[in-house]
């Protein structure tokens, strides 16, 4: 089960606690929560699939649809929104890799280098999650202002001829990926930290005692041992990024050329009331993510983790 990879920070199910088979008590404890999820998570997913197959209403009313089995809805949305679908997965891939590259050294510093100073470690972790304490919309808007067309960053880049005089940053794929990377870095850093914090540094010493170069030690010891953190981190960033639509929205960092699946779903659902198309795109997004995640977890050989 691929998704248990998220739970890696929790210790493996305790063997110390006696596992009782009290059917009734277990049922009493489980039933309310599971019924809740069945009602407000599972049935909505089914409802989404049903909606995605609806046909325009025979009444011809705008925004009215009848139940049907219009599989062609899927082909229509794929054909019409292929660029947006590609943006979602491409941006998510690049932003996830960027977040990994930025986060790993930081997590290494906090989890390994300052291990002997728990207070400093705690304060640095607080700084990592500090962005969570302020609305991500405000943070994203702040980047928009900092990189706006009149900002000193843009004018400097223009005077250095890195940007053409009529070239700007807001509205470009670069800016959207920049925002996505920024917003999801804590989701990457925390699981990496959890893995690195448990890394036994004696193994690294053993490696270098045996004349392994620094890069060999990293590739052969550190990296494989922290793979579980890398996998949780990449999943925790890739999935929300692929579905995000705030960064790519025209009011924030994106423009007309950068729309992702989420932007199309939002406008179809909340603006043009084309529920079947919005639902078909959502189902497609979820389907592709589930396939990618399963393949990824299999390929990286961490099934024993699950």
């Amino acid at each position: 089960m691929a998704f248990a990879a998220f739970g890696q920070s929790a210790p493996a199910a305790s063997t110390a606690a006696p596992v009782k088979s009290g059917g009734r008590v277990a049922l009493f404890l489980l039933l309310p929560g599971l019924a809740y999820l069945a009602l407000f998570f599972l049935t909505p997913l089914i409802s989404l699939i049903v909606t995605s197959l609806q046909v325009p209403s025979a009444s011809g009313l705008y925004g009215a649809f009848d139940y049907g089995f219009a599989i062609e809805n899927y082909w229509i949305v794929i054909e019409s929104y292929l660029p947006q679908i590609m943006h979602s997965f491409l941006y998510a891939l690049i932003a996830t890799l960027a977040a990994l590259v930025i986060s790993y050294p930081l997590a290494y510093f906090i989890g390994v280098k300052i291990r002997s100073r728990p207070l400093l470690q705690g304060l640095m972790l607080t700084l990592v999650i500090a962005p969570f304490f302020i609305s991500f919309l405000l943070r994203t808007f702040a980047w928009k202002q900092l990189f706006s067309n009149e900002s000193w960053i843009v004018t400097t880049l223009q005077s250095l001829h890195i940007l053409a005089p009529d070239q700007y940053l807001v509205g470009t794929p670069f800016m959207v990926i920049f925002g996505l990377t920024y917003n999801f870095i804590p989701f990457m850093t925390l699981p990496l930290y959890t893995s690195l914090e448990r890394l036994d540094t004696r193994l690294l010493e053993a490696g270098s005692d045996l004349y392994a170069s620094a890069s060999q030690v990293f590739r052969k010891i550190t990296l494989p041992l922290t793979l579980p953190g890398i996998i949780s981190g990449t999943l925790l960033t890739f999935i929300p990024i692929a579905g995000d639509y705030v960064n790519a929205s025209g009011d924030f960092l994106g423009g007309t050329e950068t729309a992702m699946i989420g932007n199309v779903v939002e406008s179809k659902y909340l603006v043009s009331n084309n529920y079947p198309a919005a639902s078909a795109l959502s189902v497609l997004l979820m389907g592709v993510i589930l396939i990618l995640v399963t393949v990824y977890v299999r390929k990286s050989g961490t099934e024993d983790l699950l």
Partner: protein, 266 residues
């Protein structure tokens, strides 16, 4: 300790730069909460405390903030109660369909928010439910639940069952054992889960946007305002919440570090 893969000074410098990068937009939001701005808050016009002292004068911002607090509190209480019960059952009891239950719990965390939001919205649409604060709360409980289970489960797993056995040996009734022993020991995990849930609910925009109808929350207010420029009062609320949260977390950390120090000294 020898350096393995990174230069000695390079890593601390890198960490400082990374923190600056993480904190830049927060600093920007904070600074612009003191901007003597007119309608929009795009250009620096001079320093003022007015936006802090008269934060509610901006139409709708305090109402949206109040709604977010209300939604956050109710969702947190319900999600934490339901999630804690599941966490205890998962660690302590053997039951059938265990892997199906875990799958059901993990799927919401692996589903993009836009899918959760659109799914719930189409269910509300199909059943003719009027969207508003109640539907937002229903949605928030749903996506917080799994995070509560994961957080509390870790705590239940680390609990020494001998303590509860001792309680039973001393003729404690099941409810006495739970409320006097199990619950207090689980409390730190439950509190952590509740805080996480509140933070998730308070900052949620995407799922809320699909299920809010005309109801306003703070993130929705910011998103709607972004088209014409976010007023400085929104920066005030964002910065205020940030300072409060940081103050709480740092106090807890410094205190527990001091306590750990005392314990080491004996």
């Amino acid at each position: 300790m020898k350096n393995f893969s990174f230069g000695k000074a390079a890593l601390p410098i890198y960490a400082v730069l990374a923190f600056i990068y993480l904190l830049i937009p927060i600093g920007y939001t904070f600074v612009f909460s003191f901007n003597d701005s007119l309608k929009t808050n795009l250009i620096w016009r001079g320093f003022t405390f007015d936006k802090w002292t008269g934060v509610c004068q901006q139409q709708g911002v305090c109402e949206a903030f109040g709604n977010s607090i209300l939604i956050g509190v109710i969702s947190t209480v319900v999600a934490t109660a339901l999630g804690t019960m599941i966490a205890i059952a998962l660690v302590r009891y053997r039951f059938k369909f265990r892997s199906a239950v875990s799958l059901l719990l993990f799927l919401p965390m692996a589903t993009p928010e836009v899918v959760l939001g659109a799914g719930l919205a189409s269910q509300f649409f199909a059943t003719g439910t009027q969207k508003g604060i109640t539907t937002i709360i229903i949605a928030h409980i749903m996506f917080c639940l799994s995070f509560v289970v994961v957080t509390v489960k870790a705590r239940v797993a680390s609990l020494d069952p001998a303590l509860e056995e001792a309680g039973r040996d001393l003729y404690g009734s099941p409810s006495q054992v739970f409320w006097k022993i199990t619950f207090p020991l689980l409390l730190p995990g439950i509190m952590a889960a509740a805080l996480l849930s509140f933070a998730l609910s308070f900052d949620d925009f995407i799922i809320t946007n699909f299920n809010s109808g005309a109801a306003m929350t703070f993130p929705k207010y910011v998103y709607t305002a972004a088209a014409r420029g976010i007023p400085a009062e929104a920066n005030v609320i964002g910065s205020g919440v940030f300072l409060l949260a940081i103050a709480i977390v740092v106090t807890v950390q410094v205190r527990s570090a001091a306590k750990a120090k005392r314990l080491r000294k004996g």
